[in-house]
């Protein structure tokens, strides 16, 4: 902790927003620790491994703190931050070569602990899915992630990414086509995902 401030990780979102707006470092810190995983997860899943997701998360929070005074309902801090994350995601897709970020190393954090056997098959499955996502255009991938992983509805996605509803639907179809195409050529993945034999396509 900094500035001798007591831990306040039990503070609710509204309190955090008010205190952070007043320049309290402990509140800013708590906002980071509480919401950075959400922001980073959204960016990491939506954008290919070529991007520097940590830099983008920084970008989101710098903007959040710069614009915190525009937050009307302090209880809506989470959705306020989420909207900035979607906005940065949208801009990153459009300005995709802005910073030429080069961190391409795939980092999947191992969460296994102790001496439990390591499930390399599950990890390999994840790598295969990651590969499919990395092979998609960012705009298609982002729409897929926002819809299926984040659970946003189509209209929310359209507003968040500043594209039309028809475009959202079109991107979603293309994303699914890319996933189906890749799965059709990867029998191992289909088996592991428990897809039926009748549903197999491609050269299987």
């Amino acid at each position: 902790l900094v500035e001798g401030q007591p831990a306040r990780n039990d503070a609710d979102d509204a309190t955090l927003a008010v205190e952070a707006l007043a320049g309290k470092r402990w509140a800013q810190r708590e906002i980071w620790y509480r919401f950075a995983p959400m922001v980073y997860g959204l960016l990491r899943r939506s954008l290919s491994a070529r991007r520097d997701h940590e830099d983008l998360a920084q970008e989101v929070f710098v903007r959040v703190f710069r614009r915190l005074h525009t937050l009307e309902k302090t209880t809506a801090l989470r959705s306020f931050i989420y909207s900035f994350a979607v906005r940065v995601l949208s801009e990153e897709i459009r300005h995709f070569q802005v910073l030429q970020r080069t961190r391409s190393q795939l980092v999947l954090m191992a969460e296994t602990g102790g001496s439990a056997p390591v499930d390399y098959e599950a990890r390999d499955t994840l790598l295969r899915i990651q590969h499919i996502l990395d092979g998609m255009k960012d705009k298609h991938r982002a729409v897929f992630v926002l819809r299926h992983v984040e659970g946003m509805d189509l209209q929310e996605i359209a507003v968040g990414l500043d594209i039309s509803l028809a475009t959202v639907k079109r991107y979603l179809v293309k994303a699914m086509a890319a996933i189906e195409r890749a799965a059709a050529h990867d029998e191992t993945l289909r088996d592991r995902l428990g897809l039926s034999v009748e549903g197999r396509g491609g050269n299987a």
Binding site: G41, R44, H95, V118, D124, M176, L193, R200
Partner: protein
């Protein structure tokens, strides 16, 4: 694919993505807050303008502006300050004197503020001896490290292991030190390092693709092997060295010869040595005696690769597959992990052809110029010729362009014609 299957696929991919991708580690959170706090202290604004909407016709202009601002922003937050580097440790505790001991089964990772990373294999013991603005001095007591040092003009890192030291300016390499046997092994992935013995006035320079093994021996020992390979280490230092220069056609790292110091009492022969003797079953038995789960989660990359070889040669395909998957996961990005994709393809040929094709695709994507590229493309050709003539023709053209004299050239020509 039916609508039901399509929805099922989307759900499964989404579930795996949600649960497996994008988790933020404690170290990332800590470093992220540190960066953010610095940025807030400096009053840094966003690197891209905060705008509600950007008209599409202005995107080009905005992109150019953002490029300039972005670079400035990046510089501001890039941790290139004159202050000494700091680091955090994932997967292990820092104890007294900055000592880090990785757990018996799990690796640990040190992440430095200049974004350099040191990954310690399970049971590795190391100490961060010192830190300054240009780098760190890390003492490896025993175990194995995968090192990726961020290159900067003034970078200066040093890794000590027993009587040896490795001087780094910006590179990625694997460093292993067996304290009991006094064995140092360095395998270069990118960049250049200098390896030095006890008297630091002589050094061996290693470049990408080169490997070296050194043994700390008695001072009276002659250095026949070192002399034979032109080693620059002094005879008085008496390490026995074998340097394998980068060949014109890459060879797998596993072919690096192991030079043992004869007078050292070795408890048991290394697996690579058993493989060299053709004692494949002994390797598998040894692994089973130690416990396969334990071996798969804690063995070095070299041992896992040896185990995979031994298992393949003794027809223990399932064990070979587990070992190769272990190499790919635990040592992701290394040459061994890339090669493992090829061998997983070979194993998969016994079952589903498409699984083999997928592994060969993976290998060729990761190692387009790798030592098995010709064979991977050739095996794809053979498999596709049986199942998908259209893709086989495409693959044949690609094969002939790259390997006109390859072992599958005749098949490729027949497919193209």
């Amino acid at each position: 694919m039916t609508g039901k299957d399509s929805q099922h696929l989307a759900d499964k991919v989404a579930e795996a993505t949600r649960n497996g991708i994008g988790q933020m580690s404690a170290a990332q959170l800590d470093l992220g807050w540190e960066r953010l706090a610095n940025a807030l202290d400096q009053g840094r604004g966003p690197s891209l303008p905060v705008v509600a909407r950007t008209p599409r016709w202005r995107l080009g202009v905005a992109a150019a502006a953002a490029l300039a601002l972005g670079i400035v922003g990046y510089r501001l937050v890039s941790p290139r300050q004159a202050a000494p580097l700091r680091y955090v440790v994932e997967g292990a505790q820092v104890v007294a004197d900055e000592r880090v001991v990785a757990g018996p089964t799990d690796p640990a990772k040190l992440i430095f503020t200049d974004r350099s990373e040191v990954r310690a294999a399970p049971a590795t013991r190391l100490r961060v001896a010192s830190l300054d603005a240009r780098g760190a001095r890390v003492a490896l007591a025993d175990g194995e490290l995968d090192v990726r040092v961020e290159h900067r003009p003034d970078t200066s890192w040093r890794f000590d292991a027993g009587p040896f030291s490795v001087w780094v300016r910006g590179t990625a390499f694997n460093l292993a030190y067996d304290a009991q046997r006094g064995r140092l092994a360095v395998r270069m992935l990118t960049g250049v390092v200098e390896v030095r013995g006890p008297s630091a006035d002589r050094a061996i320079t290693l470049r990408a693709g080169e490997s070296i093994e050194l043994y700390a021996g008695p001072r009276s020992k002659p250095v026949a092997a070192a002399a034979a390979t032109g080693s620059a280490l002094a005879a008085s230092e008496a390490p026995v060295a074998k340097r394998i220069p980068e060949p014109s056609r890459p060879v797998p790292h596993r072919r690096v010869a192991v030079v043992e110091r004869p007078e050292v009492a070795v408890e048991r022969p290394s697996w690579s040595r058993l493989i060299a003797r053709g004692e494949f079953a002994a390797v598998v038995e040894d692994a089973e005696r130690l416990g396969l789960d334990q071996v798969l989660s804690s063995a070095t990359a070299a041992d896992l690769t040896s185990l995979a070889d031994a298992a393949r040669y003794t027809r223990r395909d399932d064990l070979a597959r587990r070992a190769l998957l272990g190499v790919r996961w635990r040592f992701a990005g290394t040459a061994g992990a890339k090669d493992a994709a090829f061998f997983l393809g070979r194993l998969a040929e016994a079952g589903h052809g498409s699984a083999a094709l997928s592994w060969y695709d993976t290998y060729l994507r990761e190692s387009r110029e790798g030592p098995y590229a010709s064979e991977a493309l050739g095996r794809q050709l053979v498999l596709l010729a049986r199942t998908d003539r259209a893709r086989a023709r495409q693959a044949a053209k690609s094969y002939l362009e790259r390997f006109p004299g390859g072992s599958q050239a005749e098949l490729a020509k027949s497919l193209v014609e």
